[in-house]
């Protein structure tokens, strides 16, 4: 990995960090908007009650339930934001594929064009010694590209397995594979190169294969 690639990946990393934070802030705004309007409606009902006007008591119950649910949704969002923020703590570490996929699916879930997604977690988890932040970046970019091209009725299924002792494979399967054009783009290829990963298309799936250890990345990011 040359200096050019390191610089490119760092710049992209900052853009990626910014775009994920923007989508999280949008999600939080939506949550606050719901809480704000529901609290406003509770106030309207209080005023009606003061005027001696009757209304269904279930409206009050719906309001309090809605506020409680949105607060829980807010906590969930902040948990994901926190988990994402900590992905830059260690430049290189043993990283769980299942955890990285789960977080990427949750983060892309804030985007308006997200699609229904299932991660097959029936097998045992696999770890790779890599940059957790760059891996998150690669998976996030892949998911975004798939969601943008997929039909609204499509369900994306993700599988992962150990291809051989040194290689991990992630398979993305959904209905309209042919609609995914211009992928991987240059930026995604740069991230994949840095991770020693390759992106291939089969007849039905998109497959990302990656080395379980990456000496070049070690040297570049951890300075070892």
């Amino acid at each position: 990995m040359n200096q050019h690639t390191i610089d490119l990946v760092n710049k992209q990393g900052l853009q990626f960090f910014g775009s994920v934070n923007a989508s999280i802030s949008h999600e939080l705004k939506n949550i606050f908007a719901i809480i704000s309007e529901t609290a406003g409606f509770l106030n309207d009902l209080t005023q009606l009650s003061k005027q001696g006007k009757e209304f269904e008591l279930s409206l009050l119950e719906n309001c309090s339930n809605s506020i409680a649910e949105e607060i829980e949704r807010g906590f969930d969002t902040i948990r994901q934001m926190n988990q994402f923020a900590h992905s830059v703590d260690d430049p290189i570490k043993e990283t769980s594929i299942a955890d990285t996929l789960t977080l990427a699916v949750k983060l892309t879930g804030f985007l308006s064009y997200t699609k229904k997604t299932q991660i097959d977690a029936s097998g045992t988890d696999i770890t790779v010694l890599t940059s957790p932040f760059l891996l998150q970046n690669l998976i996030y970019r892949t998911l975004c590209a798939i969601y943008k091209s997929a039909d609204t009725k499509d369900t994306l299924k993700i599988f992962f397995h150990e291809k051989d002792p040194d290689t991990v494979s992630l398979t993305f399967s959904w209905g309209s594979l042919s609609a995914l054009t211009d992928f991987p783009d240059r930026q995604t290829t740069d991230v994949a190169d840095a991770l020693k990963a390759t992106i291939n298309f089969t007849d039905k799936d998109l497959e990302v294969t990656m080395a379980r250890t990456n000496d070049n990345l070690f040297t570049a990011l951890a300075g070892r």
Binding site: K29, F32, A33, G40, F41, S112
Partner: protein, 164 residues
Amino acid sequence: MTDIEKIHLLMVDDEEKFLNALTERLKLKFFDITPVTNGEDAIKVAKKAQFDVAVVDLQMPGIDGVELLKILKKSHRFLEIIILSGHATIDVAVDCTKLGAFKVLEKPSSFDKLVETITEAYESRMKKKFEKDIDRMKKIQSLAFGQSPLGILRELKKMDDNQK
């Protein structure tokens, strides 16, 4: 307020809970509201019923707010459209205004501000319609001279087609 005086409002937002809470609140303000959760349904209901004002969320799956604004403005020229945006930047406001949006409000916006903007949008619609009606009356009066009854009907049909 009678049904005739009520402002007919189309609300479009994919956040169902936000839509429901806002709908309940606006109902108490005597608006007649049709809430829908996506652009496709908004286009369908706008074909069947006449609305004075539409409040449209910018970011939605499928047909987004900008696309919906273009489609609704094309087929319902007097419909005033207010855009709600989570990130109401100047760029977004300028782009949407160029496409015919009445105003862009940041989401969440204060309820009073929203009600005020909907009322302003309604007044703007009525003013435009009134001006158009006056114009139409003048044209009809001018048609009445020197035209056969069939010719007048043909001209009226042309005018109606242009008003859609």
